[in-house]
Point group: C2
Chain length 306, copies 2
């Protein structure tokens, strides 16, 4: 009897059990925050939480793993996940169960449930520790859309940022929809929520980070900073003076989708920087703007300290 | 009696009328294609379609405007749109009606209807004409998610691309969800659908465009091409030879979300190029990858031909 069959022997099929209700309740922010748990859905998220749980030296500030629920059909589609689950089952400490498709559907608010989900513990990293370890950080200021929150965490991960901070007025990045769109990156990038921008700015400066505000109306373009940084790294003096050295450790501020950053919020930054709009688009979405800005910093930093 | 009041005098309130059914039917691709119409929802899309319809010299290859439906409450929230609608009503040729919130909800498949929508005619530009006018183009190869399609069109617009081409196996960018996530950019960037990649490649080369394939596994990084192009524009010989001059007119190929581009598809390109992953993310979403690649081309082109 292989692992999947053994798991199938204790199939959860009661959609009205307390366990199902408890997992479903994690859709609500108040419940997540009270229980310090969140739901990570789909193979990509489950794969990453398993890798992290199996790691002998997990980096600090990432979520823990509490339980995994999976349909047998989905497990057969992902042999790598089945292997990791089996290794974890041998090690113990995590509740693992096969469930029916109906139970899985009852556990989530997704329109199309993905066949597996994990219940994870919220990371407990402090703002101070997160910023102490980050050469590149992104700060989401009053961002409202969960899809955007997840996309920015994924972009931050790709660009190698080591902290994603959400201010107190922002959407919760552990909201199930945000977790789905982060595509596993919440298990790579330390995330801090509920901080005030003023305290974020103080902590960033204490740890030697400069602060840049992404602002569509700014006079300085991120391209100018990027070009100057590249030319300097090639030993060429840039054409014009630029007010910020992009190879510095940096925390980027990104504002609310509709309003951007207020003047008061921008005042915390060393300077405000725009992503150029070469076409007729009125604005970029926050995921796109964050990608351009974080990648520009990542490149400049890597050239200066390869 | 002002324009909004006059409009309110002929309020459409019957959710079961043929007109409502006709607009709702545009959710289906077969109906859109049969009638050559699509639905553009929300103030951002309606604003852009009105601007285009009021333009004395509309660029070719963009959608036409057939009808606008709006709730009185939403119109009051957007005085700029009300003014444009009034100008358009005076000019004639477009069917404009105030509707109840219930009628608007019955016309769309959106979970949260946005209070106004337009019915537009699909653009009729040929692949050949679209590529003849483009220094920068993006080609979506078998992209499946409507949100991604819209996000890429918006990123293409921001980067100043003049054509967005969707291969025959792709999601329809005029799908209501794709239109919503394009945030008005379908009224800026000429879009061509249903072309085969082989014919796209032939047309691109005929019009002097080079072809780059975005591929997460490629050896060449888009950063290397971008750095070399900048250094050349500054009169510095780049550190290493690069196989493609990024300031060239270029069509970028982006593949299916799960599988990327096949070897056969990549064979159409001059070279395959990766967006570097500096962190632990396994991949970028196609919107993020397209942003990095299209912006890199746009910058290089603008530096070479300011």
């Amino acid at each position: 009897m292989n692992f999947t069959e053994r798991l199938g022997d204790r199939l959860l099929s009661n959609t009205r059990s307390d366990r199902v209700r408890d997992v479903a309740a994690l859709t609500r922010r108040s419940i997540r925050s009270k229980r310090a748990l969140f739901r990570a859905e789909g193979p990509q998220n489950v794969r990453e939480t398993l890798r992290l749980a199996l790691s002998d030296t997990p980096p600090p500030g990432l979520p823990g793993l509490d339980a995994v629920y999976v349909t047998e059909a989905e497990l057969e589609r992902h042999p790598d996940i089945a292997a990791d689950l089996e290794a974890l089952a041998e090690r113990g400490g995590v509740f693992i169960r096969a469930v029916t498709a109906e139970v899985l559907a009852a556990m989530t608010d997704a329109v199309t449930p993905q066949g597996m989900l994990a219940v994870c513990s919220l990371p407990t990293l402090t703002l101070d520790l997160a910023l102490a370890r980050a050469e590149l950080a992104c700060v989401l200021v009053r961002v409202q859309d969960p899809g955007n929150a997840g996309t920015v965490v994924r972009a931050a991960d790709a660009a190698g940022a080591r902290a994603a901070v959400f201010t107190s007025g922002s959407v919760d990045p552990f909201n199930p929809k945000a977790v789905r769109s982060s595509a596993g990156s919440l298990f790579h990038v330390p995330v801090v929520t509920g901080a005030e921008l003023a305290e974020i700015a103080v902590a960033a400066r204490q740890h030697g980070l400069g602060i840049l505000a992404a602002d569509g109306y700014a006079d300085i373009l991120v391209d100018e900073l990027a070009d100057a940084a590249l030319l300097r790294s090639a030993g060429v003096e840039p054409f014009a003076h630029t007010p910020y050295e992009l190879s510095r450790p940096t925390a980027w501020l990104f504002g609310n989708e509709a309003q951007g950053l207020t003047d008061e919020e921008k005042a915390h930054a060393d300077c405000a920087v725009a992503v150029p709009l070469y076409g007729a688009a009125e604005s970029l979405n926050v995921g796109t703007a964050a990608t351009v800005c974080l990648y520009a910093s990542a490149r400049a930093q890597r050239r200066a300290h390869p």
